[in-house]
């Protein structure tokens, strides 16, 4: 069969590659054109179900209202905003998989709303490979802007160390001397409890001990017994979602607040609603509250009421602020490509629902003022509300660049 044409393996490979390139070219060109002119796709792999499902749902609602109103005004740079929303159930492996799908299938290059810090810590190492920018709207773990910092990560929200710092600044003048801490047993809980412990020790007060509960814990009686036995004046809580609700309900049933003051890193309206009077007297830092007296916040609360017939909650406000940071950055950069948007976001300053937010260049943390609130029930309110009792300037609540520590 010597006369028969037998293409070499190399020639076959060349033909194959050329064919594949011909088939793929329109798709690549379309994706590239879409990245520059199509809708602005923002990926939101959210914990919509699971113990922190209520947080994910808040983030979703915050982003959706922003997208709806902004699209009615013509979007950003004349391009409509398209949210890609998927449920991760709070699982970091799910989160990475869903985000990867958003990049590969939808050419998504912007991310926000990744609910848990453990999910965010799993995502950030991939951002360079995906050529994507991720602006956090709720991730508390200090490491995201410290040892785990990557250039394509930004944080528009108040971090765990910043919230904890506001609590510790407040406690410096409070008549509480001995502290215990209870945190959720994952990245954010450990990180914030550690920062709190350092702050208490620095202020020459007594830190008696700490304990961590797994997410999804239903019975807190053992933890309540530990807190009661510690002899602490106050317990610092780093809890969220269903766990926070369960702890607050049960601690009230055990009359723990009569003996030990409850302090928390986040005072969350959803938890207040869920546990009612069991939240009364709770003191803590606040990442966002509808009660902040700022013209932009008042305007936002009215918009929210019009849409949802209720006031916005913590992560709805935080997500709204995050979307405003996106808007300012994309407008300044003139596009969404990471190479343009990254410098566009650095050193940007916006006026937000919480006042000024400055995204500092060194570690991409949004510097903003810190709030301390107490849960009270004023006349005319059916349910308790968080009332601002102290504010601290961003310079005193934000850690040094790329760290989680404070100098004084």
């Amino acid at each position: 069969m010597s006369g028969q044409f037998r293409p070499s393996r190399r020639a076959m490979l060349k033909v194959g590659l050329a064919g594949a390139a011909t088939v793929a070219a329109p798709a690549i060109l379309r994706l590239s054109a879409e990245a520059q002119a199509g809708p602005i796709k923002i990926g939101m792999p959210l914990a919509l179900t699971g113990a922190l499902g209520s947080v994910g749902q808040q983030q979703k609602r915050g982003a959706e209202l922003y997208a709806k109103l902004q699209n009615a005004k013509g979007g950003i740079l004349g391009r409509p905003i398209e949210l890609l929303i998927e449920d991760t159930a709070g699982n970091p492996a799910n989160c990475v998989r869903k985000a990867q799908e958003m990049v590969e299938r939808h050419n998504c290059r912007l991310f926000t709303g990744i609910t848990l810090s453990s999910e965010a810590l799993a995502i950030v190492p991939k951002l360079a490979e995906w050529d994507s920018i991720f602006i956090s709207s709720d991730n508390g773990d200090g490491r995201l802007t410290a040892e785990s910092f990557v250039p394509n990560f930004f944080r528009a929200n108040i971090s765990g160390p910043m919230g904890t710092r506001a609590v510790s600044l407040y406690l410096r003048t409070a008549k509480l001397e001995k502290f215990y801490a209870l945190g959720l047993d994952y990245a954010w809980g450990h990180n914030s409890v550690q920062v709190f412990e350092n702050e208490v020790k620095k202020s020459k007060k007594e830190f008696l001990g700490k304990v961590f509960a797994p997410t999804g814990t239903k019975d807190y009686s053992s933890y309540i017994a530990k807190i009661r036995q510690s002899g602490a004046d106050a317990v610092f809580l780093v809890m969220q979602g269903d766990d926070n609700n369960a702890f607050l309900s049960q601690s009230r049933q055990y009359r723990l607040p009569e003996k030990v003051k409850l302090l928390t890193e986040i005072v969350d309206l959803a938890s207040i609603r869920a546990v009612g009077d069991a939240s009364l007297g709770l003191i803590g830092s606040s990442r966002y509250s509808f009660t902040y007296d700022h013209p932009l916040n008042n305007e936002f609360v009215e918009l929210w009421k019009k849409e949802h017939n209720t006031v916005p909650d913590t992560f709805e406000g935080e997500q709204w602020q995050c979307m405003k940071v996106f808007e300012a950055g994309i407008t300044k950069a003139g596009g969404i490509e990471a190479g343009k948007l990254r410098p566009g976001l650095e050193d940007i300053e916006i006026e937000s629902v919480k006042g000024k937010v400055h995204i500092r260049k060194c570690d991409h943390q949004g510097v903003q003022q810190g709030f301390m609130v107490e849960v009270v029930k004023p006349a005319g309110f059916d349910t308790p509300i968080p009332q601002v009792i102290a504010t601290f300037p961003g310079a005193s609540t934000t850690p040094k660049c790329n760290t989680m520590t404070f100098e004084d």
Binding site: F212, A213, Q253, R255
Partner: protein
Amino acid sequence: MSTVAFLLTQVVNALSQSALLFFLGVGLTLIFGLMRIVNFAHGALYMLGAFVGYSLSHWSGNFWIALVVAPVLVGLFGAAFEFTILRRLYRRDAPAFLMVTFGLALVVGEAVRLTWGSDALQVPAPPLLADVIFLLDEPFPLYRLFLVATGIVVAVAIWQFLERSRLGLLIRATSQNADMASALGVDVKRVRSSVFGIGCGLAALGGMLAAPLVTASNGMAATVIIDAFVIVIIGGMGSFLGSLIGALLVGFVQVFGNYYLPDLALAFMYLVMLAILMVRPGGLLGKEA
């Protein structure tokens, strides 16, 4: 707090948790014992009980009405599900039931979210049980004592029902040999619907009773189903007494494990299950696999 007071309060705590776990586990094990179905929707029905109970106590202003009516409604829903869907699958393999009950869990979960929203809802304990009593000078919530009492009453009632009532006799007969029971004139289909309904109602009772401790939330189904399976596996699939022992073991391990070994809180329950399965692969009172 003295050591005796501490131990006493923790033992009562463990019993109250065991009671809640028992409502879940016994329903699951009854269903498995009779129908050889692993009901993946059990956690979702527990959650549904809490939300239906929330609405009923909200509308009626009475916790007790909700406590009685919510499990009945969810039980009827369970029986209707068996009647309309599961009944068509009995000649199929086990994976068909897994798929269908898993699907039911998804549908119920999403229906709850659409109906009641995604935020957790408050179900306060009734005023009669909202106070504390003092056990050796330590305040202890009355509601938890009520849970222990309810657990004992329900356990005795189920035991008597299975042992003494006619339906209990038919359930035991059907669970031992459904074909023989059918040949002897037992309406096996009706027995199956009843048991599935009772199991779902018990899960709902657990959810309603847990709501004042943990609030009614969308996330409550996911964590609780794992506990329910652990109880049933420890006790032995299909064994009523096994589910009681399993619930007590898991309740005590969780409460004391969280106190003495908080770092191993999650793993502790599984270590106990592993140890039991190594000695008795079919569970404490189950048949060997």
